[in-house]
């Protein structure tokens, strides 16, 4: 493989250890991870390769059924364009390259039967701070050889399967990101609350798997008392002393002391993570009930996708 800048093995995340300061990590776009897995008939939580752009070039050593979902990095299989959200049969010697970042920030590569990745504390997600989990606790680099668990030799020649999955239920196509109020929402001056709800916030270049730093109107709190550290989560919107915001992402620290003004709803995480530097976010407040309902709906659609893919794959596998 030729290395991408930040490609890593991820799954749903490593839960049960945050009380020890071990954050869960996991795929930034859990939905895309699950769709990629569904496309190849995997358990939805099977570890995948998360790719960001510029992404790794991959050479395959044996026959497999793979898929790509999430961002569109203009994937080329042996020089021919292959689209996203399809299952692909690949054989020894085939090469997968990503030419151009067309849409989104994180792409996912799933392999039928899964990857041979040792678990750390019950998960294959990569924790680069601890240098544990995933592929040797680090981003992938040139020469890394990742094994496929299953041996499939009867799939036939390299080709894309004819059907694809419709992912429109998960990506709104707009930049509206729904939030519920954070604990310190009421600490904000009314003017700042209005600005949060109405003004665009731009994703700056200081954005990565730990958090997306935003640029926008400087928000102010009514009182400036320092807060005591407590737990934060993926999607927590924190307010820095300079009035700017950060949205915590998959590699967030487990605890923090900055005011938590809002919390991005889980159902909108996929939309959020796929935004790029320079993109504008428009926050929209919603209720907890709406947030729960949105995620329940998405889970239903994912289950339908899984069933439909399994049906389509029954002759191949």
């Amino acid at each position: 493989m030729k290395a991408g800048i930040a490609d890593s093995i991820q799954d749903e995340g490593r839960f049960g250890f945050q009380h020890l300061g071990i954050n869960p990590n996991g795929a930034m776009d859990q939905t895309a991870m699950k769709i990629a897995n569904a496309l190849v008939g995997n358990d939805l939580r099977e570890p995948v390769v998360e790719l960001s752009f510029p992404a790794s070039s991959i050479q395959f050593e044996k026959t497999a059924l793979i898929s790509l979902s999430g961002a569109d990095f203009s994937a080329m299989l042996n020089g021919a364009a292959v689209g996203n959200n399809k299952a692909l049969i690949i054989n020894r010697g085939d090469e997968l390259k990503f030419k151009k970042s067309l849409l989104g920030s994180f792409a996912y590569l799933a392999v039928h039967g899964g990857l041979r990745i040792a678990q750390w504390l019950g998960s294959a997600s990569t924790n680069t701070k601890a240098k544990a989990g995933g592929w040797q606790g680090r981003f992938l680099k040139k020469g890394d050889e990742i094994e496929f668990i299953k041996d499939l030799s009867r799939l036939g020649e390299t080709r894309a399967l004819s059907w694809r999955v419709n992912v429109s239920d998960f990506y709104s196509g707009n930049n509206i990101i729904r939030c519920v109020e954070g604990r310190e929402w009421t600490d904000l001056e009314k003017v700042s609350q209005d600005q949060f709800k109405k003004k665009p916030f731009i994703i700056t270049q200081h954005s990565d798997r730990m958090g997306y730093r935003l640029k926008g109107p400087a928000l102010k709190r009514k009182n400036k008392t320092e807060l005591i550290s407590s737990a934060v989560t993926f999607g927590t919107v924190q307010l820095f002393p300079d009035g700017q915001l950060i949205i915590l992402m998959a590699d967030h620290q487990t605890t923090g002391g900055y005011p938590r003004v809002a919390q991005v709803i889980t159902a909108d995480r996929s939309n959020l993570v796929q935004l790029k530097q320079g993109d504008e976010i428009l926050f929209s407040m919603c209720s907890l009930a709406e947030a729960e309902k949105a995620l329940v709906y998405q889970a239903k659609v994912l289950q339908q996708i899984k069933t439909a893919c399994a049906f389509n794959l029954r002759e191949i596998l």
Partner: protein, 244 residues
């Protein structure tokens, strides 16, 4: 002991926080620790339980709860309220451990000793004495895997963080920030006032329990000489004094 006052609020749509107050105090933290113990290994829908100084955050499996209940937040909230109201603090279900942590307070490991000496008009010997004489509680673990926030440090050595953090604090560095004391488990940027170093590995991915500390642990620092530090064999040292 009477039921305590608390607030419960959502932390997003898949987490909830119970807050007992808003200051660093052993009393408040005892409430956190007590509830933390009650919840451990108990509920099938809970993915993580994260103690803070005066808060406890519960990360729950929203979808699993919603397959059974109409509102995940309401369900977890009522479970917590039931637990808090029916269990008083005298019923601690988990023993607290006492840990002994060897620390070398050598000048080469204590770049901020002078700052504390000037700030409080004390000698280095007095700093060491005041640091080792107390038994500290682990209030919470966060920021890094295994970074235990411990308190409460004696007022005579409690010192504000560095105004500009160091870009690299070596693993094992023992520091003071305000009334807290802690040890960096990994090389890391950091702003704590460093007064010593432990040869212990506080975070080891090869161990089945990779983090040495647990929330609620009682900790005592034990001074060792520079030679003892150099000769230290971690595998032959057991930090846990008792489980009582």
């Amino acid at each position: 002991m009477t039921p305590t006052s608390y607030q419960i609020y959502p932390s997003g749509d898949n987490a909830l926080t119970i807050q007992f107050g808003d200051s660093i105090s052993l009393d408040l933290n005892n409430h956190v620790f007590h509830l933390y113990n009650l919840l451990r290994n108990k509920q099938p829908f809970i993915k993580d339980i994260i103690p803070g100084y005066c808060t406890l955050t519960i990360i729950y499996d929203l979808l699993s709860i919603r397959s059974v209940h109409a509102s995940a937040f309401d369900f977890i909230q009522s479970e917590i309220e039931t637990l808090i109201n029916h269990h008083h603090q005298s019923e601690t279900t988990r023993p607290q451990r006492l840990l002994k942590i060897p620390v070398c307070y050598h000048v080469s490991f204590a770049p901020d000793a002078e700052k504390i000496m000037k700030h409080h008009q004390v000698s280095f010997e007095q700093i060491i004495y005041l640091h080792i004489e107390k038994t500290y509680s682990v209030f919470m673990i966060g920021f890094l895997p295994g970074f235990a926030y411990m308190g409460v440090v004696d007022k005579k050595i409690a010192t504000p963080r560095l105004s500009t953090p160091r870009s690299l604090v070596p693993a094992g560095s023992v520091g003071i920030a305000g009334e807290q004391t802690g040890i960096y488990p990994l090389d890391s940027p950091g702003g704590w006032n460093i007064i010593g170093r432990t040869p212990l590995k506080l975070f080891d991915i090869k161990k089945p329990e990779p983090v040495l500390f647990q929330p609620g642990d009682q900790v005592k620092f034990s001074p060792i000489s520079f030679d003892e530090f150099q000769a230290f064999k971690p595998t032959s040292f057991n930090s846990v004094i008792n489980e009582s």
